[in-house]
Structure formats: C-alpha cells, structure tokens
C-alpha cells in the first residue's frame, strides 16, 4: 500500500469484481438510508439539511462546533459532572444496616401478619414456608452525626460520614429476582438489551478525557455471588462506543497494553492510521456505523496504552491514603482498591465509574454474611466519600450506593437467636446518594414497622433514574434515541424527578 494512492483498490481481478458488487442487504440498506436522508431533509429546516451535504466543513468550523452538543444538551445547569455508582449486588438487607426497626424485637418469631404482606407474591424460595417468622436484626443501631442518622454497628466507618449522605429509605422496584432486578436498575428495563445508565450519559454528554473511556466498570474480586454480565454496562441500541469498558480486577486492569517482546511500538501509530484509511473506505462504501465505532475503539486502545498504566499506578499515593481505604486497598482488584482506583479515574476525567461488589444475597446465615460483606466494603466506601470531599471533588461528583432490591423482615429458613436468613424484597429498601446536588445529612422516605411497605415518599427505580439524569442537567423525557420505530428513554414512559432530594 503506498501513500500517494488516494483510493485504495485491489490489483487482483477477482477482488476488483468483488469490490464492484454490492450485495442485496447493503443495497437495501443504502437505498433506504438515502431515502431516509431525503425525507429528513424535508422535515428539517431545508437550509440546514442541505448545507451539510454541500461543501465539506473546514476544520475550523468543526473546531468551533465541537463545544456545542449535537443533542442539545444539557437542558439545564448540571450539578454533577461525574458519578461513581457503588452497586451492592445481591440486595443488601436494609433492616440490618440502615432502616432501624426497634419494635421488631418484641415480635421475635411471630408470624408476619397477612395484612402486611398484602397478597404480595413471594419467591419460590420462601413462599412455601409454613410460617414467616419475624427476624429482628441482631445488630445494634446508634445515631450518628449532626443529622442523627441511625446506622448499624456493621458500618462503623460509614457512620462517620452520614452527614454527607442522602438516604432514600423508600426505594421500590418491580423485580424480585436478581438478573431482571439488576438489569432494571442499570437499564430501566427488566430484559437485557436497553442501554445502561452510563451509556446514556456517555451518549448524551460525551467524553471529558479523550484518552480514557467515558464509562468504566470495575467488579471487585473479593465478592462472590450471583453472576454479573456485560449487558449491565452494555450500550443496547446506542452506538457501540458508548458501552462500558470493564477493567479487570487484578494487577493488570487492561490486558495486552504492553508491547510484545522485540517490538518497540514505534510504527504502531502509522499502522493504525493506515487501518483507519481502509476502514474509512469501507465506511464510505457501506455507511455502517459499527465501522466508525471500531475505528474509535482502535484509537482509544492506542491511547489507553499510555493513559491506563498512568491512572492505575497507585505508587504515588501516600500511605495515609491507603490507611484510610484500609489494608485491602493495597491488593489490586478488591473493593477498597477499586474505590481508590475509581477516585483516580474520576480525577482523570472519566465520567462514569460503575463498581460492582457481589455477595449481598443473604438467604441463609444472614448475620455472618453481612458481617463479612461489611468488613470488605465499609471502610472503602467511607474512605471514598472522605477522599472525594477533602479534594473538593464531592462538589461535582455524585456517589450512589445500593443494591437491586432489599430483603424480607421474615426469616427464610429457620430462625434462631443467632441466625436467620432473608429472602428478596422489592417493595421497600434503602439506598443512599452523596455529593453533587443532593441534600447532605438527609433522609427521604419511610417504611412501616416491618420495613416491608413504604408508608411515606416511595421512590421508584424510574424516579431514581429521572433524578440522576436531572443532576447531570438532563431532562429525562428529552434524552431519547429512536430505535425500531420508536423513541426510547432511560425512564421509558415513567419517572419523576424527586426535587425533595436536591439541594
């Protein structure tokens, strides 16, 4: 291949004949796209529609336009510019952690009244139990901070920062099983295939650092439980470059970044430029957006060769930072280490860091399981809040903590003095947010004495999504993408911004 050939054509006769062909599928695609473009031209202001087809834009014009968002975003002044979502996969038990229910102690072992259940269909795991014995929490609760927030003894570190947190105690979801519930939380729909929150934000707001992905997922290695899958950070029908990039939990977050032996990498840029040329020709011929996505990803991978080692290197962190995050933080891939990495990624301009920690699914041995989980996560979470705050980053960073649903007040399996299990519970659970634009030291929503039904200010997953987008300056009803003949939103046809949560 030589540089002076503007258009790359094959010298081989057979290949030339192939080049001349356009197969049926692409013919239909191209012609229908062409018609679509014409129709679009008539719909839009004609002047604007034709100008883009005329002379190619000069680089200056592109430069000048680059700071204008093509989607007309943000709709209003944002409060948040980045976000860490600490997803506690499995469904943490709200009444053992935050939702203090002292009256339950007197009801130990009593059958949960039918009136409380209200005809709700239980899961197959506990629905067939002959009794549903009430299991009060084994853990002591105390009030902390100026906000006098109740927190259980399981979270000694988090209790130090309650005045920065905004609790949502009336969370509700539609799903009672893990996969649909997590999918619902991350994409707004229980079936896989819709774009995740991070993809919507990436699509809507673009990147703040060209050298790193906009949306990065970290799964901690010291949590085991229900499996997670890539569709949770998938782009759905949005362009592929908006999908979340998963960093591996371990010493090498991204594999194959180092050059192979005996290769110095000097001509890689040149190689990629040529590849880009080929891909551009292919894209001009077929107009397939996946080709563009591929070009963007090659470019990103190249940039990540330098940017990733830089950002994942924690050697310049002082000891007191490691101490704050706990001893786990020196072990790459743990929850605490991921919290620290998340902060570093945000500092570099990554917009959305999604952390997953599995293992909150305490069907049996709930007290022991929770102790174990909290020991692994409590210090890292609290340290992250403190660390962001002292650096001033909490001002424009949104931190979210929560699982896909809560757990039942009754014991799944046998209830003893020292042990109980808890089943999935979608009708009431607790989450918290902190940082940009949310009220610090605040609690929203209340549950009944059983932490079973929401009695005041319920907050549905769709409302949570609407509020999240609102904090980023997005009207959730106006960020849409047309796919298969209709426009989709993260909140689809639901959702209300909960203004009471906002500063």
């Amino acid at each position: 291949m030589c540089d002076h050939h503007d258009i790359l054509k094959s010298n081989n006769k057979d290949l030339q004949s192939v080049e001349k062909q356009i197969d049926r599928r692409y013919f239909l695609k191209k012609t229908s796209l062409g018609l679509g473009a014409l129709a679009l031209g008539s719909l839009l202001n004609t002047e604007k529609a034709w100008s883009s087809i005329g002379t190619p834009e000069s680089t200056e014009a592109i430069l000048a336009n680059y700071n204008k968002n093509r989607l007309g975003l943000p709709h209003h002044l944002p409060k948040a510019k980045r976000i860490i979502y600490l997803f506690q996969s499995g469904g943490p038990s709200q009444m053992d952690l935050f939702d203090y229910k002292p009256k339950l102690v007197d009801m130990f072992g009593q059958d949960l009244p039918k009136s409380v259940i209200g005809g709700q269909r239980l899961t197959g795991m506990s629905g067939s139990q002959s009794t549903l014995p009430i299991a009060p929490s084994l853990f002591k609760f105390k009030q902390y901070g100026e906000s006098r927030t109740w927190v259980s003894e399981l979270m000694p570190h988090l209790s130090e920062v309650v005045d920065d947190l905004c609790f949502m105690k009336g969370m509700q979801t539609d799903q009672i099983n893990h996969t649909p519930a997590i999918t619902f939380f991350q994409t707004g729909h229980q079936l896989p295939g819709r774009p995740s929150i991070g993809s919507w934000l990436s699509y809507g707001l673009g990147s703040d650092n060209e050298n790193l992905p906009t949306f990065i997922t970290l799964v901690s290695k010291n949590g085991k439980g229900q499996p997670l899958k890539a569709s949770l950070w998938g782009n759905g029908f949005l362009p592929t470059e908006h999908q979340g990039v998963q960093f591996r939990s371990g010493k090498d977050p991204v594999l194959y970044l180092n050059n192979p032996d005996n290769y110095d990498g000097n001509d890689r840029k040149k190689m990629l430029d040529y590849l880009d040329k080929l891909n551009t020709i292919q894209h001009d011929a077929y107009g397939d957006p996946e080709i563009q996505a591929r070009m963007a990803q090659y470019e990103m991978a190249y940039k990540m060769q330098t940017s990733v080692p830089e950002v994942t290197d924690t050697s310049d962190e002082p000891d007191h930072i490691f101490e704050m995050y706990g001893k786990d933080s020196r072990d790459p891939g743990t929850y605490a280490a991921n919290c620290l990495m998340a902060r570093k990624l945000l500092e570099k301009g990554v917009k959305f860091v999604q952390l997953y920690h599995q293992g909150w699914d305490q069907h049996i041995f709930c007290p022991g399981g929770l102790r174990n989980q909290c020991q692994k996560t409590d210090q890292g979470t609290a340290a992250l809040i403190k660390d962001l705050k002292q650096r001033g980053m909490l001002d424009d960073t949104l931190v979210i903590w929560g699982g896909e649903f809560g757990r039942t007040v009754y014991s799944q399996g046998q209830l003893t003095d020292q042990n109980y299990g808890r089943d999935h519970h979608p009708k009431a659970f607790t989450m918290w947010m902190a940082g940009a634009g949310v009220k610090p030291g605040f609690s929203y929503g209340e549950t009944d004495d059983f932490s079973y039904n929401v009695t005041k200010d319920p907050l549905h997953v769709h409302d949570f999504h609407a509020t999240l987008l609102h904090l980023f300056g997005i009207d959730h009803e106006r960020l849409t993408f047309k796919h298969q003949g209709r426009r989709y939103r993260l909140t689809d046809v639901h959702g209300h911004v909960v203004k009471d949560l906002l500063t």
Partner: protein, 461 residues
C-alpha cells in the same frame, strides 16, 4: 334545514367515498388518451368511452350524494358553492366528452382528435379544482400547505412572558389548546354542529345545540362535558380517530371556565389559581418554575468563532453548560503548564479573559498558577465555581479575587493559603464551600467566629 332526515344524511356521508370513483376513472381516461396517442395503440383508446361513461355515472351519483351531505349544513357556504358548481360542471363536461367520443354528437373528423384531448384536459383541470375545494371543506383551507417548506406565513406570535402570572388565560393557554385539538373541525370553513371555536365571538355564540360555555360552571358546560364523556360515547369530542385532550388541557379549560368565568381578558395573576394549574401553565409556556436556591444565569450572546478557536488552540477544554446559553465550563488539563513553559500561562489567561463573562466553572488545577494570575481571574465575574487546587496560591492571591460575588464553591486544596484568607472569603456573598485540605488553615483556625461564617470550610474529611 333541520328537517333533513337522518336517512338523507346517512346517504350523504357516502359522498367522500363515492367521489373518488369519477376521479380515478377520468384521470385514467386522460392517461389512456395520452398513452394511446403516443404509442398509437388503438386497443387502449377503445377503452376511453367506457372510462368516460363510468366517470359520468359515478360523478352524477357523487353530485347527488354531495348535495345530500351539504343539507347537513356543517360547511361554510362560499366554499361549498364553488365545490358544488364545479362538481356539476365537471359532470356535464364529462357527459359531453362521452357524447363526442361515441359520436352521438358529430364533429368533423379532423377536429375530433383535438376536441377529445382538449376536453379531457379540461376535465382533469375541473376535477382538480373541485377536488381541491372538497378537500378544503373536509380538512380546512390550510391543510394542504400547512407543512409546505415554502411561503410559510409566520403566525402572529404572542409576546414572550417573564412570568406565568402575566399570561392572558384565553390567548396564552385556552386558545392554543382549542387550535390544537378543536378548530380543525370547528372553524369558519367547516363548522361541525354549527360551532366555531376560533375566536371569542364565535365561542360565545355556541353551536346548533346552544351555548357551549356556562361561565363559572365547567362541569355543566358543553365544551367540558363532551371531552369528559366515555370515549366510545357518540357525543365524545374530539371524535374517534382524532387525538383526545390530555388531562392537563382539560384542567386548563375547566380552570378558565370556573375560576376566570370564561372571561377573555383575565390573566393568570388576577384570578384564583391553584398550584397544579400554575405548574401546567408554566410548562405550556415553557416557563419552568425556578428551582429554589438557583442563581439566575446570566444571558450571554454567542462567542465569535475566531476567539473560540484561539482559546481551544491554547489547550483549554470548553463545555457548554446549558445548550445555547453560551455559558461554559473551562478546564486547563493539569500539568499543561510545567516549569519549562511557565511564561505561557499569562498568555493563555489573557486569551481566556476575552470570554470572561461566559465562564461559569473554571478548573486550572496543578498548573503553576500563582498570585500574579489572580487579577485576571478576578475579571471573571460570573464564576460560580473555581478549582485552583495544587497551585502556588497564597492569601495575597485570594485578596485579589474577593470581589467574585457569584462564587459559590472554591477549591484551594494543596495551596498555601492561611487563616487570613477566611476574611476574604467572607466578602464573597454567595460562597458556600471552601475546600482547604492540606493548606495552612487548621481546624483550630476555624473555631473562631464559627457561628458568623455562612460558608463551610473543609480542611479534613
């Protein structure tokens, strides 16, 4: 015309259906004529008399049905007259054309070819005119050209409002709803049920069944009763196939009738207006209610492209904070300025100051910024947030920017400021947060005059 029997109207409603038969037949006759001549295919020309005869018969039926429909009296008379007479003319001319074609009327041979083609052309023209007026009767006279890309007549726009309270209820809220959902059938050309809803006089006049409004009593008013009926009810408005009114729209109409006594001059501010109505009205007028605690955003014109490019080429990242507000977040990536190019920072800031009022958030972290640069930053009067952590800034630098009165958050983590800066901060009226971890301000410094301080200083987590 009230004595028109239902049966006549029943037949009349077949007019829009039957009317398309002659249109098809006659256009096809015209095509046969053209194509037959062009390709010289007598077999095709032979079919023309049949097409014409079918056209005559169906046109005649359509005329009769059309007359029956017109007896209902739902249409404006001037347009109806034109449509009526053109329809009849088309039928008669078609009849003539058929007569000539089958040689019931003899015209000498050489002329007959010309007369055939010219008569058919005339028929097509007549058909088009009749059809057009018919369309105007059914869909309204602006239906055809409403979305045309050319010659769009700008509708007289209502003056934009500063607040909801100033809105005239009828012209800003009620009329747009009626225009959107009702007037396509209730206008001067097409007055279904004798009702027109396009202006105040006709609204007050009502329709065939009497008045549509009872001031102060929305639930008894026909206008509201009809839209609240069960959707399959015969009287439900808008009729099947049209978009029904939304709850918000009904709320507004009821509010106008109940609270404003259906007065055409009342403003939102002058009548009792419930919270929900205010909210709907603000949404309709695009006056989103202002969120509490939100500082008014300054209104700024667009920045010249040359200036913008200049700033971008200096390495600043710009992001518009609200679309088309021309207000920006500006960020200089950390370590853009290092020991070897310190002198460039002055130039960069000078260039940035060309858009000084456009900057709301400014990030110049870890870029060897020092006290001498703060004078430039003090010009950025609209700044709400500034992040200048990890720089060589001392109290002297802070004293330079104490006049930034819109600043609500300042990040000075890892700078050299001390206790003295607290006094300067208290000059910044809107300040809420000062991030001062790893500076010379200690927790002890914050103990004094703590109660008077209106902003929070974060020195440790």
């Amino acid at each position: 015309m009230n004595e028109t029997t239902d049966f006549i109207l029943f037949l009349g409603r077949f007019h829009p259906l039957v009317v398309h038969l002659p249109i098809g037949f006659l256009f096809f006759a015209f095509l046969l004529e053209l194509y037959g001549k062009w390709k010289n295919t007598p077999a095709l020309t032979a079919a023309i008399p049949l097409a014409l005869l079918s056209g005559v018969i169906s046109a005649a039926v359509a005329c009769i049905l059309g007359y029956m429909l017109s007896l209902g009296g739902d249409y404006s008379e001037s347009t109806l007259d034109i449509h009526f007479w053109f329809g009849i003319a088309t039928t008669i001319i078609t009849f003539l054309a058929w007569l000539i074609r089958v040689e019931k009327i003899n015209i000498s041979k050489p002329n007959s070819i010309k007369s055939n083609i010219s008569l058919l052309t005339l028929i097509v023209v007549l058909l088009s005119i009749t059809g057009h007026y018919g369309g105007n009767l059914t869909h309204g006279s602006d239906y055809l050209t409403k979305y045309a890309p050319f010659g769009k007549v700008k509708k007289q726009a209502l003056a934009p409002l500063a607040k909801v309270e100033d809105a005239n209820i009828y012209s800003y809220l009620v009329n747009p709803i009626l225009e959107n959902k009702c007037t396509s059938c209730h206008n001067t050309d097409k007055k279904k049920g004798g009702l027109m809803l396009h202006d105040s006089i006709s609204i007050l006049k009502g329709g065939k069944n009497g008045e549509v409004l009872i001031a102060g009593n929305a639930s008894k008013s026909e206008l509201i009763r009809r839209v609240l009926l069960e959707p399959h009810h015969d009287d439900f408005m808008p009729p099947e196939g049209k978009t029904p009114l939304t709850e918000e729209e009904i709320t507004i109409l009821s509010y106008w009738i109940d609270n404003a006594n259906a007065d055409f001059n009342s403003n939102v501010g002058t009548v009792k207006t419930p919270e929900t109505v205010l909210e709907i009205a603000s949404n309709m007028l695009g006056l989103g209610e202002k969120e509490k605690g939100e500082i008014d955003l300054p209104t700024m014109g667009a920045i010249d492209d040359v200036v913008l490019n200049d700033i971008l080429s200096e390495g600043f990242n710009l992001r518009e904070l609200v679309y088309e507000s021309n207000l920006y977040e500006v960020l200089l990536p950390p370590n853009t300025i290092i020991e070897s190019n310190t002198n460039q920072l002055d130039v960069k800031l000078q260039k940035l100051s060309k858009i000084k009022d456009h900057i709301l958030w400014l990030y110049i972290e870890d870029n060897l910024l020092n006290d001498s640069h703060m004078k430039v930053i003090n010009q950025f009067q609209n700044l709400q947030k500034i992040v200048i952590s990890k720089n060589h800034i001392t109290d002297a630098g802070i004293s330079e920017i104490k006049n930034l009165s819109n600043l609500s958050s300042i990040n000075l983590y890892k700078t050299a400021i001390s206790k003295k800066s607290l006094d300067y901060f208290s000059k910044m009226k809107n300040l809420k947060k000062v991030y001062a971890w790893q500076t010379n301000i200690s927790e002890k410094d914050l103990e004094t005059s703590k109660s008077e301080r209106f902003f929070e200083v974060i020195v440790k987590p």
